[in-house]
Point group: C2
Chain length 198, copies 2
């Protein structure tokens, strides 16, 4: 007896897709509910019935962003040499960030006001971290690296890679300074720092 549903799962993905497009192409400022709803020929009510509000929509987008990001990192073939794998993860990390800077800023910068990811979404996001941790463990177990908790080593590596990319994408670098020419050597030097001295 009710009126037929149009706020279905298909509309949900259309909203999510369009939201991602708006974010990537015009930035977070263009991602307003009225704009989004009108672009998909519905009303702002749809966002509330399908997500629960703008923060919840952003949470879904946040999850999607980390999924893409994690997929790219997990898709890297293993070479057998953990050091080389770590370098490749680092390079891919920056490539992925530069491929869609706005998404990266949603993940790691606070570009959208009044949005903080939910506990579970943030836990899922942490999975992105696992390929690096696995390779570092391999390097530690094979005696290549110093005897330190492999989580600590991986965290330091993630920090550097993330920090350089963040400085780049947030525009915090001094004028004239570029990341690209220093990036790979920075990764390799950092790895060397954890090498066991003989």
């Amino acid at each position: 007896m009710p009126r037929p549903k149009t706020h279905d799962d298909a509309l949900r993905v259309r909203l999510l897709d369009r939201a991602g497009e708006l974010l990537s192409t015009e930035g977070p400022g263009a991602l307003s509910l009225r704009r989004l709803a009108s672009d998909v020929n519905t009303s702002t009510t749809a966002v509330y019935s399908l997500f629960g509000g703008k923060p919840a929509l952003l949470d879904a987008l946040y999850e999607e962003a980390f999924r893409r990001f994690g997929d790219r990192l997990a898709a890297l073939p293993e070479t057998g040499d953990p050091v080389e794998d770590i370098v490749r993860i680092g390079l891919t990390y920056r490539d992925s960030a530069l491929a869609d800077p706005q998404f990266y800023l949603v993940m790691f910068s606070k570009v959208v006001p009044n949005f903080t990811p939910s506990e579970e979404t943030n836990a899922a996001a942490a999975e992105t971290f696992t390929p690096l941790v696995a390779n570092v463990r391999r390097a530690v177990e094979s005696g290549l690296f110093v005897d330190a908790p492999h989580e600590h080593i991986a965290l330091a590596m993630w920090g550097m890679v993330h920090g350089l990319v963040s400085l780049e994408l947030n525009g915090n670098l001094p004028p004239g300074v570029e990341i690209a020419p220093a990036y790979e050597s920075a990764i390799r030097a950092h790895i060397d720092g954890w090498r066991k001295r003989s």
Copy 2:
């Protein structure tokens, strides 16, 4: 013949002070022009006649934040050992960020919508970087470090320190993971990575 000015330099600093307070204590969401103006017993017009608008006010706050930050880093006494100085800079970097996280987020994260620092303000902000660069140069010139551009080495170090602190303050760390116990050893390991091998 005109009506006496109340939008003077004293009001300017009162606005800036209160804006900093609001930012530190209640976060960027509480920093609205109406709220700010009423807290200082004036009107929103004051912000426009004294600064030019909210982005310009934020620019002044951004400059102030970097000035404080840079002062803390520059105040570090030199020990004569560049390596030890670099470690101290790294530790102070995190201490300063944790002392006022909201200010740090204004500097290095995009917590305020529609704000990007002006060219000149950003250039001034880059001065924060110089103590680290100076110490790295010293280490390179004394033959301690590998023969690489000292700007590249300093950039890598800044990246790691900044990355770890950013992950921490943005809440991007996996649940249960802490920066503190890994921080100093990460800095020292990274420094070791640039050491000349004998």
